[in-house]
């Protein structure tokens, strides 16, 4: 249920329809993988059928002989650096010494026809000596495990501590020690990875491919090709779903390389199965917690050993590990803790960003722990949390002063009214209720961010707004248009969004970390201020007066009884040869230094959520049916309630899949088993429970018109709340996701 409250604003707090919805609903929108370029070559990827092995030779001669083949590229054809990766550029563009996962790219083929390209693909031969395969965190940690990388199987190790855990534990009333496990999850976006590339008349390599962060894509392409970023254009819109899975490079470098080498337009789209084999997934986790609490239910200590499975390489692994560190204490006051966090290499594909980014993994552990502690203490789980949550102004676990935590307290109090076990629905159908709390930082924490956005007042009567974040379905185009409309007091219909294209939009960063509203929104508002101040002077000149006597309202400047529109003024600026485009850069508020051993801990602005999940468990079949989910969110001021609720609902359903049925599996040789929609089962609409979304009235002064962010918060606490509800229903606690029926009975 979305209630629109009475608001002092004209264009925000309003559930206006998404501005890009008509084409999507009509099916007329051309995604980048739909593009057909004239004279384009068909490209395919030759992939390893060995999960771990030493490359002795790659034979391409026979493939090159196929009629119509224009390029067969291997690592030898890479002009500059053979590596990419959002944090550490260690992922080979094309494998050269070793292959480290099944499906790793070894060669690229481009040909005049699909048939020729496929024939060439068939003719490529490789000589690879297989090595033993590391399939799990446990196998990777074994002292006799084969080394996937020269430095070993630990990609990153960080220890963060505070206080004296031994002392705290020794005085504790209850100490619980548990191991929690979560699976690799696939994004399963509807549009697989793909796009087109071509070299234009000016020699610029245009890469038009689904993605999330065009400027970082551009830098990564530039390093591999050894050409300056200005000679590359990346356009990421429209993208048919991403969820983090397109945040690092997928096809972009391969496309650029092929276009650069062949000087021809190229199209490369992964099949669903290739997306399943070689696309990214969420880190699997194994987290050991030892948590202690006093007789009154106050947390004393938390000792966490975190292992995240990064797969064959690090993509966002280091920062995902950071978020898992930051969220393993929940939003709680824990005076003593030790967090020993490890990013582990295995031969399981490559783990990367996925909605929640390390938080769902940690949340399942700490929130399951809180629920079990409440049980042991015979305390209401909401009361236990109310005792332990950090309050506004308190100093958090990472010496960060907590801003605005009052929303969480309010959400927990509201949750009390919704927290009850539903009546049984029939024989063998047990019902249960579960709860969990989520916290997640907005943006990149202590990592410096300087997003730039621009607006252009077009004399013909519209305002272009420009930012590089991608609207891949989450609705930021509409939200950001509403923010600008509010600032300029003009209807949303006058606003035109140009985004996610390095040709038109300045570098606002990408769509990730629930940051697009906060960063692009704030930068756009700054650009609006610049525009208004400049236009005001122009208005003063028009009125033949001083600018401090000029007022502004609803797109018009006024002096006495005369008015002039921003478009009329823009026309005057244009006649004078002045620009009507206004750009501004935001220094994102952050703490000066990261916690040692981390890159982005802590964040300054947190989103909060409380989830209550009600389930029905068939006790004979072990089948869990989520029946109702309540989600109470503190996401700051809500720009568009319907879109925000849609984000919350989507995250819940994706979280239910993660909790109940989704799990990427590999066979004994490291080959992925479930790589398409038939075998990798995601929920369908009829699996959705009744979802009730409520927003706490909240205002974050640092955000644009008080907004924080929304994209990730709802998926985070689903796992722990479902496991808790199942425990309530059948009396048996689960420590491993997903809760497949055969793990229940």
């Amino acid at each position: 249920m979305i209630t629109e409250t009475i608001s002092k604003y004209s264009y925000i707090n309003k559930s206006i329809p998404r501005i890009d919805s008509i084409d999507k609903v009509a099916g007329s929108l051309l995604y980048l993988t739909d593009l057909k370029l004239e004279n384009a070559l068909y490209a395919y990827t030759f992939r390893s059928k060995v999960a771990h092995g030493k490359i002795n030779a790659i034979y391409t001669e026979d493939a090159e002989k196929v009629n119509g083949v224009k390029a067969v590229l291997t690592y030898k054809d890479i002009p500059a650096m053979n590596g990419y990766g959002a944090i550490v550029p260690e992922i080979p563009v094309l494998a050269y010494d070793k292959v480290r996962y099944y499906g790793e790219p070894l060669a690229l083929v481009a040909a005049e026809t699909q048939e020729a390209a496929l024939e060439a693909l068939n003719r490529i031969k490789v000589d690879i000596t297989p090595l033993p395969v590391v399939r799990s965190i446990d196998e990777a940690l074994d002292e006799n495990a084969p080394k996937i990388h020269e430095k070993g199987n630990i990609a990153r190790h960080t220890v963060v501590r505070k206080g004296d855990v031994e002392k705290a534990r020794s005085s504790a009333y209850i100490v619980l020690e548990r191991i929690y496990e979560t699976p690799m999850q696939k994004h399963m976006f509807l549009e697989p990875e793909g796009g087109v590339a071509f070299v234009d008349e000016e020699g610029v390599i245009n890469v038009l491919a689904g993605g999330q962060t065009p400027y970082r894509d551009r830098i990564q392409i530039s390093r591999v090709l050894g050409i300056p970023p200005e000679k590359i254009r990346v356009k990421n819109t429209p993208t048919g779903g991403a969820f983090g899975g397109k945040d690092d490079i997928t096809v972009q470098i391969h496309l650029a390389l092929l276009a650069y080498k062949t000087k021809r337009p190229v199209k490369l789209v992964w099949s669903r199965e290739e997306s399943g084999i070689a696309g990214f997934h969420r880190t699997a986790s194994k987290i050991k917690l030892r948590t202690s609490v006093d007789r009154n239910g106050y947390l004393l200590s938390n000792e966490a050993t975190i292992y995240l499975d990064s797969g064959a390489y690090q993509s966002f692994g280091p920062t995902i590990l950071d978020v898992s560190i930051e969220t393993i204490n929940g939003p709680y006051r824990i005076p003593n803790y030790v967090i020993d966090a490890n990013l582990v290499y295995t031969n399981n594909g490559i783990a990367s960003a996925f909605r929640g980014f390390g938080a769902p993994e940690s949340n399942f552990a700490i929130e399951s722990m809180m629920n079990e502690l409440a049980d042991e203490l015979k305390l209401d789980p909401i009361d236990l949390r109310l005792k332990n949550i950090l309050k506004t102004g308190e100093v958090g676990p990472f010496d960060n002063k907590i801003r605005h935590a009052e929303g969480l307290e309010e959400a927990l109090k509201r949750a009390k009214e919704l927290f009850y076990r539903p009546d049984p629905t029939g024989p063998f159908q047990r019902t249960g209720v579960g709860i969990a709390v989520a916290v997640k930082g907005v943006g990149f924490g202590t990592l410096p961010e300087y997003p730039t956005a621009a607006i252009e007042i077009v004399p013909e009567g519209r305002v272009n707004i420009m930012f590089s974040n991608v609207d891949y379905g989450q609705g930021i185009n509409t939200g950001n248009a509403q923010l600008v409309a509010e600032k300029l007091q003009i209807p949303v219909s006058q606003i035109n969004v140009l985004h996610s294209d390095t040709k038109f939009a300045p570098d606002t960063g990408g769509s990730s970390a629930s940051r697009s509203t906060f960063n692009a929104g704030n930068a756009l508002l700054l650009a609006c201020e610049k525009a208004l101040s400049e236009l005001k002077m122009e208005a003063a000149s028009y009125f033949m007066t001083k600018s401090d006597l000029v007022t502004y309202k609803d797109g018009y400047f006024y002096f006495k009884d005369k008015g002039v529109s921003i478009y009329e003024l823009a026309k005057r600026l244009r006649l004078k040869g002045k620009s009507t485009r206004f750009e501004a850069t935001l220094e994102v508020p952050r703490y000066a230094e990261a916690v040692e051993g981390t890159l982005e801990v802590p964040h300054m602005v947190y989103m909060y959520g409380v989830i209550i999940t009600k389930v029905v468990v068939d006790e004979l079949l072990g089948k869990i049916k989520p029946r109702e989910v309540d989600f109470i969110a503190d996401i700051g001021n809500v720009i568009n309630p319907a879109i925000a609720a849609g984000q919350i609902e989507g995250g819940i359903i994706q979280g239910l899949g993660y909790s109940l049925i989704e799990e990427l599996n590999y066979d004994k040789d490291g080959k992925p088993l479930n790589i398409n929609y038939t075998t990798y089962v995601v929920p369908v609409i009829s699996d959705s429970p009744l979802i009730n979304v409520e927003f706490i009235k909240s205002y974050e002064e640092l955000g644009p018109f008080g907004a924080k962010g929304v994209g990730e918060i709802s998926i985070i606490p689903v796992g722990a709340s479902v496991a808790d509800a199942v425990t309530d229903a059948i009396g048996k606690r689960s420590y491993k996701l997903p809760l497949l029926p055969w793990r229940i009975i």
Partner: protein, 299 residues
């Protein structure tokens, strides 16, 4: 990844189809809706390089009554079965199963003969055919034979169909008026799921005594199976919770499941017990599905 080149033959009559089949034999793959074959083709899992497209043979698509039987043409689509008044009146268990197959898109294309030809142990239309005593008609140039469904499957994706034969018709018994029936399917999601376990049953009661129980189980053995021991146990006894437990146990014991990504063998045994128990329990408590038809009621 991409489609292999295949040659497609689209005959306009059964005679023509049989003629092609008699020449090509194992080189050609008969295909109707293509919901399985096209996936195999895309995966490179199809060994045949030629397809015999049966979509343009209207004489293979029908549903009609013949005395105590219903005759269903092999290329009759799931959608047509779902909407058939004849099936609805005399074999609603088949509708119960077919409506749970895949999605509407699959049901619009997939055919009952295709489900038999694919011979997946998890095929959802097959368990009802077992309890309806189905007979599969196999035709070739110059002759035809009928095989009881019990004898039709040899293993996963293996049937008794000879390379020059075509599945042309399925005949099923009409269900007895007043009998109870169920088709239960357990998948990882509520639609578009491959069965972990499925079960079909027809229970005929006289007063409270079981005249007969027919029970078949899918996805728990190399082929769909009849739970004959369970059926024997039920015969002539009063339906009670104790009996249901014995039947469910015998059904579970009859299975020979494997472990795969859709479930462990152990779980499939437990789930068989659960699915059969719950289905019969519903009937015991008076909310089972019951077939009501007969001319006496029409007047």
């Amino acid at each position: 990844m991409a489609y292999e080149k295949v040659e497609v033959y689209s005959p306009r009559s059964l005679a023509e189809a049989l003629e092609i089949l008699s020449q090509k034999k194992e080189q050609i793959k008969p295909v109707a809706g293509g919901t399985d074959v096209m996936v195999m083709l895309k995966d490179g899992a199809l060994k045949e390089k030629e397809l015999l497209n049966l979509s343009y043979i209207p004489e293979l698509s029908y549903i009609k009554e013949k005395e105590n039987h219903i005759l269903i043409g092999a290329t009759t689509k799931y959608r047509e079965i779902r909407r058939s008044p004849i099936i609805n009146a005399y074999a609603p268990i088949l509708i119960e199963a077919v409506r749970q197959i895949g999605s509407p898109q699959i049901q619009n294309l997939g055919t009952i003969g295709g489900n038999l030809g694919t011979a997946s142990p998890a095929g959802d239309s097959i368990p009802p055919l077992y309890v309806l005593n189905a007979k599969v008609k196999l035709q070739k140039v110059g002759s035809a034979r009928e095989v009881h469904i019990d004898k039709f499957f040899l293993g996963p994706r293996k049937t008794v169909r000879e390379a020059d034969e075509l599945i042309t018709e399925i005949s099923v018994d009409k269900m007895e008026p007043g009998s109870y029936y169920f088709f239960e399917k357990l998948g990882l999601r509520s639609a578009n799921a491959i069965s972990i376990v499925n079960a079909a049953g027809i229970l005929s009661l006289e007063n409270k005594t079981i005249k007969y129980l027919r029970l078949s189980l899918g996805a728990v053995a190399p082929t769909v199976i009849r739970a004959t021991e369970a059926e024997e146990e039920a015969k002539g006894k009063e339906l009670t919770e104790d009996l249901i437990e014995r039947i469910a146990k015998l059904a579970s014991e009859a299975t020979r499941p494997i472990s795969d990504i859709r479930g462990t063998a152990e779980y499939r045994k437990k789930a068989t017990y659960g699915i059969v128990y719950e289905a019969l329990y519903k009937i015991l408590k008076g909310y089972g599905k019951k077939i009501e038809y007969g001319f006496e009621k029409i007047s």
